[in-house]
């Protein structure tokens, strides 16, 4: 079976995380992804962490991870020749993915309307903080600002500690995945109708509705608690320190029996403080104290495997070392070593989801401008003289 996105050409005009993650998914599932980088490269090349801590545009873990399987075309869109080359590439593409602030993209001279004239089939995907219109459309934004404006910042962390962002670039990744889902729908429609469209994905609008029951309860009933709950929704849903890390419990009423057995307290099934879900809520503080005492005696891997065999919902907080060593992830083939000529070997996760054998492939990230010449020649149909005239810092 061919890969699910085989035959598609995607032009990625993306920086940092959101559009590059979308492009990475396209590449992984079989599309040809041409990443157009400005002179000097995607700014994520300047962000670490770097191999051995030494800054190098070819060894940023952030760039290496987000750009697997793409071709790099270094183009200065601020020059007429660079912009012309981009437009020629877009005329051959099925999809353009970009994450510029709308005003910044217009300033570069790239618009959906102009690209559409030459290529009505084109699906043009914009992944931006606030979407293409509305009062915030041209606000300056990044991961932290989106995390705040999408409502996830306020609900994370403790009441006393103040709002806390999650690790890494979670708002940006949400934008990338949402952009990819919207893009695949639009590709399906374009292949059916022979006509593309401008897909508008606002990270804020994707984030705001998914705060568990927050929006439904407030909108329907006017109920809003407004508290950050830290690491515990209740004593029986949360994270506890153990001897060598942290374990997590998430006990629904039907899990109570196997849970008490897995932690060596079957007598709690008869304990009037804990015997029913209602009693556990009333005696929440007692259960907290008991679970802190219990967890301190456990080691994480052992508790997890024992509970797993007994069908009790206990997990543990996986560090990156735990992920690399995970027997489960290794057996499933989720961890792949990829060799890079400058950065060397590293382990990459994937696929995000499985669609059959060989549906996902993951090549290394490109060197800056590695494919400029070949792509401009073979895809844009430019002559050697035209390419030479680009004068955009293309490597000799």
């Amino acid at each position: 079976m061919p890969q699910p996105l085989a035959g598609l050409r995607v032009l990625e005009l993306g920086t940092f995380v959101s559009a590059p993650y979308c492009g990475k998914l396209f590449a992984g599932y079989g599309a040809e992804v041409l990443k157009v980088e400005p002179p000097g490269g995607d700014p994520s090349r300047a962000h670490g962490p770097f191999k051995d801590g030494v800054p190098n545009p070819e060894t940023s873990a952030l760039f290496l991870y987000l750009n697997t399987g793409k071709k790099s075309v270094e183009l200065d869109l601020r020059t007429p020749a660079g912009l012309d080359a981009f437009i020629r590439l877009a005329a051959t593409a099925d999809v353009v993915v970009e994450n510029f602030r709308p005003a910044d993209l217009r300033a570069l001279g790239v618009t959906y309307a102009s690209l559409r004239a030459a290529n009505p089939h084109l699906t043009f995907v914009s992944i931006t903080a606030f979407g293409q219109d509305g009062p915030y459309a041209n606000y300056l934004a990044n991961n932290l600002v989106c995390f705040a404006m999408g409502g996830q910042l306020f609900i994370t962390g403790t009441q006393e500690g103040g709002p806390l962002k999650n690790g890494g670039y979670q708002a940006d990744y949400q934008g990338g995945l949402n952009g990819f889902a919207a893009a695949t729908l639009a590709v399906l429609a374009a292949e059916r109708d022979g006509e593309g469209q401008h897909v508008d994905v606002s990270v804020q609008q994707c984030m705001a509705p998914i705060l568990e029951a927050g929006i439904p309860y407030y909108s329907y009933m006017g109920r809003w608690g407004g508290l950050r709950r830290g690491n515990h929704m209740a004593s029986y849903i949360g994270i506890y320190p153990c001897a060598d890390g942290h374990v997590g419990v998430h006990v629904m009423p039907r899990n109570w029996k196997p849970f008490t057995e897995a932690i060596g307290h079957p007598e709690w099934q008869q304990d009037p403080r804990f015997a029913t879900a209602q009693a556990r809520n009333i005696h929440n503080d007692d259960l907290f104290a008991e679970l802190y005492t219990w967890a301190a005696t456990e080691t994480k891997r052992e508790a997890y495997d024992r509970a797993g065999r007994m069908r009790a919902p206990i997990s543990f907080v996986h560090t990156m070392a735990d992920l690399l060593e995970s027997p489960h992830l290794n057996e499933r083939g989720y961890l792949t070593a990829i060799e890079h000529p400058v950065a060397g070997d590293a382990v990459y996760p994937g696929p995000p989801w499985w669609m059959g054998a060989d549906s996902w492939t993951q090549g290394r990230a490109p060197l800056l401008g590695e494919h400029t010449d070949a792509v401009l020649r073979e895809v844009a149909g430019m002559s050697a003289a035209e390419i030479a005239r680009l004068n955009s810092g293309v490597p000799a």
């Binding site: 606000y139 709002p163 729908l185 994905v201 499985w354």
Partner: protein, 413 residues
């Protein structure tokens, strides 16, 4: 123009959040989604939300359920009976996609394995959404929302500086798996258009979410150096933090990426000299001294509302965003102008505002097409119209307990 998934029929066996969230998106973007619930194993979300149990059809009034199940039809069918299974296979034979998020062994035990469903319809796209995946030593371990993000590696990277690993504020892996479902189904449909063949898809929730911290795995595998949580700060940029504003528990995020943005911030907070101060002017020094900047910034934010501070900073050219609360999100002028909320009327639950389909596809738009189905609301459509059963046959199913017009209310009393 018709929606992207127009003409696609989806048999939805999923319950609670991840699956229903994803199949609702499929419905919003044009698929005909048929939500199948057993009279004795119906969706727990119907029981959540403090609904008084003494009102008629209380199980149709859960806001949490109704948000995540709109744009779907509802069918009551007991899959545990042989006859129920046969009817489901008949439904699969006239459908394009089936989605399930049961424990890994349940579908096989019901006689509804991929092979069994494919035998009924070789073009079927069969999607499973387990926590761990259907293979591997941990496949049968129980994993709910808060477990998934721990297993994905995200929690170990989150937390205040020097603090414990911190969970997210919600079951983050669920909507991410649901979003992935849309992409996976669209891709599998494209593949079927090209090859004529159906396929099997598996979304392991911990693996889908693990992709969101992939750069940390690459980093660790190269450098073998753990990265401790750094709160709201950034590895390179400064200032990059959350500051208290006027009012009770109101906050603003400020995240400068360039020296010019920092200079704009200094001007906006009335401290223009900081922009040329050697301790702060250029990023490397500013990052070193970022702690000294925090009180200077907070002195300015703490006497302003978070909306006002955001507007002043944005006007000056500083990336800044108010930490919006749920009531503020629903009142937000930008989201309002974008049509992010849309009123819908439900026959048992009334009229209120729900989130609109999130992505704008202007030529083939999504739509909140239907209110969430009441339990068994579309039995007649599915049994009669789609499967050609007579009213007498449907009545026989009902008397045998294979379908019902009401759920067994003792299940989630």
């Amino acid at each position: 123009m018709s929606a992207p998934l127009s003409g696609v029929r989806v048999v939805d066996l999923t319950m609670v959040w991840a699956g229903p969230f994803g199949t609702r998106l499929l419905g919003d973007y044009g698929a005909e989604v048929i939500k199948v619930e057993s009279p004795r194993a119906w969706d727990l979300l119907r029981a959540l939300g403090m609904i008084p149990r003494d009102v008629p059809r209380w199980y149709n009034q859960s806001a949490y359920f109704n948000h995540n199940n709109r744009s779907k039809y509802g069918l009551a069918l007991d899959l545990g009976s042989g006859q129920g299974r046969d009817i489901l296979l008949r439904l699969c034979a006239v459908s394009d996609v089936i989605v399930e998020n049961f424990r890994t062994d349940v579908m096989d035990n019901l006689g509804l394995s991929y092979e069994a469903v494919r035998a009924a319809n070789p073009r079927i796209i069969y999607v499973s959404m387990p926590g761990h995946g259907k293979t591997g030593p941990e496949r049968d371990y129980v994993a709910y929302g808060s477990n998934v993000e721990q297993l994905a590696g995200l929690v170990s990277l989150s937390g205040y500086e020097g603090g414990e690993p911190m969970k997210t504020g919600f079951s983050y892996g669920d909507p991410m798996a649901g979003t992935a479902l849309v992409a996976a189904v669209a891709m599998a449909l494209r593949q079927r258009n090209r090859t004529g063949e159906g396929s099997q898809v598996e979304i392991a929730q911990r693996e889908n979410l693990g992709m969101f911290v992939g750069e940390y795995l690459v980093d660790y595998s190269m450098n073998r150096e753990p990265r401790a949580p750094i709160g709201n700060r950034h590895p390179h940029l400064a200032p990059h933090n959350v500051y208290a504003c006027a009012g009770d528990d109101r906050w603003i995020a400020i995240a400068c990426e360039t020296d010019a943005q920092f200079a704009a911030l200094c001007g906006a907070i009335g401290q223009p000299d900081l922009a040329s101060d050697a301790r702060y002017a250029a990023l490397p020094a500013r990052k070193q001294n970022e702690r000294d900047l925090d009180p200077l910034i907070e002195a300015w934010t703490s006497v302003r509302g978070h909306h006002e501070a955001m507007q002043l900073l944005q006007r000056a050219g500083v990336p800044a965003g108010a930490a919006l609360t749920i009531p503020e999100l629903m009142a937000d002028p930008h989201l309002r102008e974008r049509g992010a909320w849309t009123a819908q009327t439900h026959p048992d639950a009334g009229t209120w505002e729900l989130e609109a389909p999130p992505w704008r596809l202007p030529r083939t738009p999504g739509l909140a097409r239907l209110p969430a189905p009441g339990f068994a609301e579309h039995n007649e459509y599915v049994f009669g119209t789609l499967l050609g059963m007579t009213p007498a046959e449907i009545a026989t199913l009902e008397s045998a307990g294979i379908t019902a017009s009401e759920p067994d209310q003792s299940l989630h009393a």
